[in-house]
Symmetry: none
Subunit: 159 residues, 2 copies
Amino acid sequence: MPFLKHLWKPSKSIFFYALLMALLVFALKWMQWKYLIADHSVDIYIGLIALFFTILGIWVASQLAKPKIETVVVEKEVYIVPPEEFVLNEAELKKLNLTTREYEVLQQLSKGLSNAEIGEQLFLSLSTVKTHVSNLFFKMDVKNRTQAIEKAKRLKLTP
Amino acid sequence: MPFLKHLWKPSKSIFFYALLMALLVFALKWMQWKYLIADHSVDIYIGLIALFFTILGIWVASQLAKPKIETVVVEKEVYIVPPEEFVLNEAELKKLNLTTREYEVLQQLSKGLSNAEIGEQLFLSLSTVKTHVSNLFFKMDVKNRTQAIEKAKRLKLTP
DNA sequence: CCCATTTTGGTACTTTAGTATGAGACGCTC
DNA sequence: GAGCGTCTCATACTAAAGTACCAAAATGGG
């Protein structure tokens, strides 16, 4: 009977109930000497005791058999990606009305390359790079390359 | 006491237990006449009845009371922040061994300001700004301001 | 107070960036 | 083919950036 296992669990309560039961027995014994020695109402006496202790047993069982609520906490992780990969903002790019070559120069510019290095990368003379860069600044409405880089990254035109 | 509601539910069982109880009382009455009239072992008799009916009550309660095991599953959503706000990388900053003033210049530099503008912001002459900037490039191991900005942002030294 | 570091500023110079202007070559379209 | 836009490159110039070296003033700790 698996129920009994639960009965023995709360050891502190056991002593309390045992003490309570002892007191009741003592009280009943006292009542026995006072009222029941004389007459023959032993049947009623026994019945009352049986009824009382049955109810007591039920009550004890109800007290010991506690709700027993098992709370299972399941942590559900809501993952929100931080990678933040580069997605070209084509709308903004189109607004600027850059030519193909100008955009290529802008990409190199955003890498932090100098005009000479851009020329090496795209096989252009320094003059040509300067021309593209200058036109780039005009179209982008900036005054120097650092502002151009900042704006290009902010508008998601370059990584 | 909500427990009693469960007791009254199975009406068929009630008659069975009532009948059982009646039989037991009858049996006890018979035992009473046979063994216990003569002597003074009424105490033991009462104790046995009390014990028996307590156990009976417990048993009845355990039979009638449902398992009563409630499993509550609580789903706890744990969010992982995406804000990605600027957090200064103090470790990397310390590695560079920049002076206070140099770092202030770097902060303005990262905004895309020219040397002259940085001078206006920090109330410095162009010469002083150039000195700081030059020392900055040496300590950061870069060749120009665009690389310095790129590195500062990558190492989370500036927003 | 002394010393090391920082901060500030200067001069002189080189390099790079950026502007302005022009011009030749190419491809496309009307 | 004329016109247009793009791409290329050049020259000339100015502005800004960057380097090198020096030095005075301020700062802060032992």
